[in-house]
């Protein structure tokens, strides 16, 4: 059984259909990359999976269990699905360590002292040991984004969603964030990325999906999709994106 299954997912904002019958399967431990132009529905799709947006129709299954059921309490689901945003969204009034500890403290009722060792371990693993007590505005974009990843990981999620997490970064900072993603993939995390980093998608993804106008136009292994795209829209997009 797939870790995440999307069945004919539909999301509309008013008259604007952003996800138009999307089907997608993400296996346990897989890294799936969503590519496509801005406005194709990649970000919205991720927000739907994390229940930040309610879908109009279709189903989203996590371990075969329908999490898109209207009226379902979203909080227990969100604890199992971590999300990292394009603009980091760290809490500016808290240090990096406080950012990371807030949710485990409040949701899992763990004390700061109990959390310290595992949090320190996470910061160390992602090369941030000396940044724990810094405030977000004292960190570079790349560091902030890595703290945001650590913050999501501290909830011990089963799945991680990444919404164009390198798009707001200076080019020389993108590498350090992508390194973190490689590390996560090696640890067996199930991941879904909306990304414009074609090189990274080709190298690291298990599956790449090309979205256009809220539909999955084409999906497949990165080698197949990048080297021999079948659909004319995919060909046109890749021709522009890989130029």
């Amino acid at each position: 059984m797939a870790k995440i299954t999307l069945k004919a997912v539909e999301k509309r904002f008013g008259d604007n259909t952003v996800c138009d019958g999307i089907n997608l399967e993400v296996e346990e431990g897989q890294m799936v990359c969503l590519i496509g132009a801005s406005g194709a529905g990649k970000s919205t799709l991720l927000r739907c999976v994390n229940l930040l947006e309610a879908i109009e129709d279709g189903e989203i299954l996590l371990d075969g269990e329908d999490i898109s059921l209207p009226g379902l309490d979203p909080q227990p689901v969100r604890r199992r699905i971590g999300m990292v945003f394009q603009s980091y969204n760290l809490f500016p009034h808290m240090t990096a360590a406080e950012n990371v500890m807030l949710a485990p403290r409040r949701v899992y009722k763990k004390s700061r002292t109990a959390l310290r060792p595992e949090i320190t371990e996470l910061f160390t693993r992602f090369g941030l040991a000396d940044r724990m007590n810094h405030y977000p505005d004292q960190l570079s974009g790349g560091q902030q984004q890595r703290v945001a990843i650590v913050r999501a990981l501290a909830m011990k999620p089963e799945v991680m969603l990444f919404d164009e997490i390198t798009s707001a970064l200076d080019p020389q900072l993108v590498g350090e964030v992508l390194d973190v993603l490689r590390l996560l993939k090696d640890s067996g995390m199930t991941m879904v990325l909306a990304t414009h980093e074609m090189g990274f998608a080709r190298e690291a993804a298990d599956k790449v999906c090309f979205l256009k106008d809220g539909k999955v136009v084409e999906e497949g292994a990165p080698s197949a999709l990048f080297d021999a795209p079948q659909h004319p829209d995919t060909q046109a997009f890749l021709a522009r994106a890989l130029k």
Partner: protein
């Protein structure tokens, strides 16, 4: 390499020095003209001697000032017990108006009605209505005290304004912060308490300071319903000495408090603007 002259200044520094000298000369000159005009022209007004005797009588000032200062303590006391109540009530109303829980819908409507009503009625009317109205119910001592009901009138009025400022602060926190908190599995209440409110409150501190400066002045309105605070004390002296100087003394005392407070609030606003840009 920078070109410098004999004094070791760049062309730009020389130019800026010249600009600064000129603007200081202009400012000094215009201030002098205005000052002379006031000092020379006002005393030439036909009623100046009478005004001077009844508003700026030094003897009356010196005689009444200590007692006015004494009475001002009551203003400060009323301020000190009203202000925390205003912060708490204002915050509660702001949160009530922000709630999305349908069970709390009546609270939301109530919050909206409350802010509309108390921001819409002149403070002095609220002070009269509550200050005279509630004790008129025939409550036993000490529940008929004008201190209690006068303070309550101030608290109700100012909480309405303070609540609106808190609400604008809450709304100014970007919704991506809520999304981030929600995505971590935090409850709405926790997200408000730990993520949104701390940022919102920090942003509105300068604006709230201005509200509390206004409150300090409006405490004088309670004089209309009884308490002998500074404004009423000044009124007593006015009748006693047939001289308006005590009012000037009271104004001096208010200014001694409000001017530093206003400057501090301005400083906070300026600092915040610098931080955000």
């Amino acid at each position: 390499m920078t070109k410098t002259n004999a004094a070791g200044k760049t062309r730009r520094q020389i130019y800026e020095d010249r600009l600064r000298r000129r603007s200081m000369l202009v400012a000094g000159g215009s201030t002098l003209v205005v000052f002379l005009a006031v000092v020379i022209l006002v005393p030439m007004a036909p009623g100046w001697d009478r005004v001077k005797a009844s508003f700026f009588n030094w003897e009356v000032f010196a005689k009444t000032f200590p007692k006015l200062l004494e009475a001002f303590k009551l203003d400060v006391a009323i301020f000190l017990w009203s202000a925390p109540a205003i912060v708490v009530l204002g915050l509660l109303v702001a949160l009530a108006r922000d709630t999305r829980n349908p069970a709390l819908f009546p609270l939301r409507i109530l919050g909206a009605a409350y802010t509309d009503i108390f921001r819409g009625v002149p403070v002095v009317l609220t002070v009269y209505l509550i200050g005279f109205g509630v004790p008129g119910l025939g409550l036993p001592r000490p529940w008929n005290s004008p201190y209690i009901w006068g303070s309550l009138a101030l608290v109700l009025t100012y909480s309405a304004y303070v609540a609106e400022i808190f609400r604008s602060g809450i709304e100014s926190v970007h919704k991506s912060q809520r999304a981030a908190a929600a995505s971590l599995g935090l409850s709405d209440a926790d997200s408000m308490r730990f993520v949104i409110l701390p940022q919102a409150i920090r942003r509105v501190v300068p604006a709230q300071m201005n509200m509390f400066i206004a409150l300090q002045k409006d405490v004088a309105l309670l004089s209309f319903i009884g308490p002998v605070e500074i404004f009423r004390q000044a009124g007593v002296y006015k009748s006693l000495l047939a001289n308006f100087t005590p009012y000037v003394g009271a104004a001096v005392i208010f200014l001694a408090v409000t001017i530093p407070a206003t400057r501090y609030a301005d400083y906070l606003i300026a600092r915040q603007n610098r931080e955000r840009s």
